[in-house]
């Protein structure tokens, strides 16, 4: 198990390293003068030259990349034009357009996205797996068909439709909830929750459909297995078979899929963040891409990539814990 763990962590680090190379290459793949792009459209020629100097664009590519890596691991110094600023590790660069360190910018947005993703994640697992189990329990009956139909509708409906409906019903018509507006957890935990409730549900309803189907199909698959027949033949009740044996078979695939979704969601909940006015990472990324703020784009992609890789590594380990046979393979 220890060897397995070490192999997975080494693999994750390698992927991050490879990602950093690819992402860093964006600077040079992007058309036009890198310094001008990084500096922004309002820069004077003198300022652009200064940026070129600070980014050390005169150095060979690998030296520049080395400084970038150094910044992440040990921090580096930047000149903001008038003064020299130290950027602590992990330093992801400096946004000349907003006059901010990328790390600070991301750190400000990270709790927002994390709040959204964690809450939605818990909900979508509960709703998705719950619906899946229910539809297996009621298989062959009308209620199963209704559930299947509902999950299909969930998958097919775009998040902005679900989101708008939720806002109209709960904020407008019933007026049970405030129009969502992000309140940091540290400021007011209760308001934080009330304001995030709708975005959580909007995201969870969309995602849970997938999980309901996955849970259902893996449970049905397990129910057809020989060992289920054994336990039936030994007088174990149908409920216990579903709970202990069939559901157990669905654990591993659900873990695998949720890790992917969880990681992706850090940079992928653009529609949800925009619709509910949540100032998270995904929205920031879209903004940065729009104005071609390259240092911010690179930093964000690195951070989002980090979460995807982290989630996958955790999933691999959980998967191995859930199914010990994986370690042997």
């Amino acid at each position: 198990m220890t060897g397995f763990l070490l192999r997975r962590i080494a693999g994750a680090l390698f992927v991050l390293f490879a990602l950093s190379i690819v992402v860093y290459a964006i600077f040079y793949v992007a058309p036009g003068d890198v310094a001008r792009i990084a500096c922004g459209p309002r820069c004077s020629t003198a300022q652009v030259d200064q940026v070129r100097e600070q980014l050390r664009l005169g150095d060979p590519v690998y030296v520049q990349y080395w400084h970038f890596l150094q910044g992440i691991v040990a921090g580096r110094d930047y000149s903001t034009g008038t003064a020299l600023a130290h950027c602590d590790a992990p330093c992801l660069g400096f946004s000349y357009q907003t006059d901010q360190q990328v790390t600070q910018l991301i750190l400000a947005k990270l709790p927002v996205t994390a709040s959204l993703v964690f809450g939605a994640f818990v909900l979508w697992i509960v709703i998705g797996v719950g619906t899946g189990v229910l539809s297996v329990w009621r298989r062959g009956r009308l209620s199963e068909r209704v559930l299947t139909w509902l999950t299909l509708t969930g998958t097919a409906t775009p998040v902005f439709v679900i989101g708008l409906l939720l806002i109209i019903v709960f904020c407008s018509t019933l007026a049970w909830l405030p129009f969502p507006q992000y309140v940091p957890f540290t400021e007011d935990p209760e308001q934080w929750m009330w304001n995030l409730l709708l975005p959580w549900f909007a995201l969870a309803l969309l995602e849970s459909a997938k999980y309901a189907r996955l849970t259902r199909s893996s449970m049905l698959e397990t129910l057809a297995d020989d060992h289920v027949r054994t336990f039936r033949a030994f007088g174990v009740s149908e409920g216990a078979i579903l709970r202990r044996h069939a559901l157990r078979g669905a654990v591993a695939p659900v873990i695998a899929l949720s890790a992917l979704d969880f990681g992706t969601m850090f940079g992928g909940a653009v529609l949800t963040e925009s619709l509910f006015g949540i100032p998270g990472l995904a929205r920031e990324l879209v903004e940065a891409v729009k104005v071609v703020d390259l240092p911010v784009v690179v930093g964000l992609v690195m951070v989002i990539g980090f979460f995807v890789v982290l989630a996958n590594t955790v999933a691999d380990v959980l998967y191995a814990v859930a199914d010990r046979r994986v370690v042997l393979a």
């Binding site: 027949r229 039936r232 007088g235 044996h245 046979r325």
Partner: protein, 528 residues
């Protein structure tokens, strides 16, 4: 009162009548063997005893009473009490019959707690107790293992332990040893024998192997096409069967103790040049610390018209050897001479044929591979080959699923014959076939050997089959040949202890011989 009372039982799956008016009884503590070929309905009867058809949508009629429970009319609660509590069932494939995610001890404890209101702890203790009883060494520790950490034999022991946990009055065993090696099979049958003597539980043993039944039961019930053919004490049914089908079935069973075969092998074979000669073959799997020599220095030679039997248990390297002889695997050491004229017939004829191509096309493959382009000639040659293996030459355009298992194996043999080889390597060619079909395919192979002067390498786990077809035999274990010689030498006067152990493990058709073998096995085990 009888332990089992089945009256006029019929089971239908949609349009198929799997069991058709079966009646029988079993006294408490008695053992009944239900014997039949595939499709005879023997397993369907066993499932009906525990009401296992309820969840499948099969329609069941008649009455089934087991340990005082009317299985077909009992409510859920009563039925669950019967299952595992009064009557327990052991299934064929021990790997898939246990939940891969839980420790074996926990699975047994779970079943125990269904029938007894005890704490988890007490149930766990019971699990260890029964695991110890069925001979799992270090049961406390091993009860925490998951099924994949157990060998096939140990898994079957664990399943028997689960059945034993609630001290049932009846044990239903559905092909309990079919997936196991012959020595392991003997251990499991001996265990069942001991447990019956000790607990006095009744046994219903479903098997396709008459020998397995002869080893284990008092009475035998022969089934065919869902009906009972014959029932009686095992000794008299096997010694003097009344029904024609039983006679046919018994005649088809290859015997390990038959007086030597009467047919005289072609003279001169002794002196002829070998068709195939392999020297010091080696094949290693894995790398680093986990290197595992599958075949470790094996030399064999086969002369024209001769059959070399290669016999061994799973993991002995016999299949790897066979594949190296044909050139499907490249040896890591040693040499093979003569491989250009060698063909192969595989174990499972269903997967050895492409289901999307007609059998004629499959047989024509080797001809086309050799550059034959004339469609007329190909059709004619395939027709000849089909006749040669006893099939209708007009079946060229039929597809594999339209054929039975035995016919499919004939098609595979025809394909192997197509390039006119001098030697055919047969890897377990009959192990997936019913015993009567098996006999037909074996006699076809023998006929081909005699008439075409073909040499055969016959790889199999079944000692009786190998004895029946071979001139010379090589016994393999852990990648090496432990003993080789003529059939008379190896079977008549085995020298190697492993060969002796193997031969003692083969189920005997005669119950009195079976008892003898059982004590022989005990001696061998104690000596070891």
């Amino acid at each position: 009162m009888s332990l089992i009372e089945v009256t006029d039982l019929s089971v239908r799956f949609d349009e198929v009548r799997a069991v058709d008016g079966v009646s029988f009884t079993l006294d408490p503590g008695a053992a009944l063997g239900v014997v039949g070929e595939s499709g005879s309905g023997k397993s369907t009867v066993a499932y009906a005893l525990l009401g296992l058809h309820r969840e499948t949508g099969a329609s069941v009629s008649g009455t089934v009473k087991v340990a005082g429970v009317d299985v077909l009319t009992a409510d859920e609660r009563e039925l669950r009490g019967l299952r595992g509590g009064k009557a327990a069932m052991v299934f064929q494939d021990p790997l898939s019959s246990l939940d891969p995610y839980y420790a074996i001890g926990d699975q047994i404890a779970e079943v125990y707690r269904v029938h007894h209101r005890v704490s988890r702890r007490a149930a766990r203790a019971r699990a260890v107790e029964v695991l110890d009883r069925v001979g799992i060494p270090d049961a406390v520790r091993r009860s925490r293992s998951r099924p994949h950490e157990f060998s096939g034999g140990m898994r079957q022991r664990a399943l028997i332990a689960m059945a034993l946990a609630c001290s049932p009055e009846l044990l239903v065993a559905d092909e309990p040893t079919t997936a196991l090696d012959v020595t392991v099979q003997a251990q499991i049958l001996d265990l069942l024998h001991e447990l019956r003597a000790e607990t006095g539980m009744g046994l219903l043993l479903v098997t396709h192997d008459v020998g397995v039944a002869a080893e284990s039961v008092d009475d035998i019930l022969v089934m065919r096409h869902g009906k009972v053919v014959e029932r009686g004490p095992v000794g008299s049914v096997l010694a003097s069967p009344r029904e024609a089908y039983t006679q046919e079935l018994l005649a088809a069973v290859p015997r390990i103790d038959a007086s030597d075969t009467s047919d005289v092998r072609p003279g001169g074979a002794e002196t002829a040049e070998p068709v195939l000669e392999a020297r010091d073959l080696r094949k290693v799997y894995g790398k680093g610390k986990q290197v595992f020599p599958a075949v470790d220095g094996v030399s064999v030679s086969v002369r024209p018209g001769e059959t070399l039997g290669v016999v061994g248990e799973s993991g002995s390297g016999k299949t790897t050897l066979g594949r190296m002889l044909v050139g499907l695997l490249t040896p890591d050491g040693g040499s093979v001479t003569g491989t250009s004229d060698v063909q192969m017939v595989f174990q499972d004829p269903a997967s050895a044929l492409n289901p999307r191509r007609s059998i004629g096309e499959s047989i024509a493959d080797p001809l086309r591979a050799r550059g034959e382009k004339d469609e007329e000639r190909i059709r004619a040659r395939v027709g000849e080959l089909l006749v040669r293996v006893g099939l209708d030459p007009t079946l060229y355009d039929r597809y594999p699923h339209e054929f039975s298992g035995g016919q499919r194996q004939r098609v595979c043999i025809a394909r192997a014959l197509a390039p006119s080889p001098r030697l055919i390597v047969c890897d377990e060619p009959v192990s997936s076939l019913d015993v009567t079909t098996q006999a037909q395919v074996l006699s076809l192979l023998d006929e081909l050997r005699r008439e075409l002067g073909l040499a055969l390498v016959f790889v199999a786990h079944d000692l009786a089959v190998v004895r029946q077809v071979s001139d010379r035999v090589a016994v393999m274990r852990r990648g090496r040949v432990v003993e080789s010689g003529t059939v008379a030498e190896v079977y008549g006067a085995p020298k190697d202890p492993y060969t002796k152990q193997l031969l003692a493990a083969v189920p005997a058709l005669d119950p009195s011989v079976a008892a003898e073998r059982r004590s022989e096995r005990k001696e061998l085990a104690e000596a070891a």
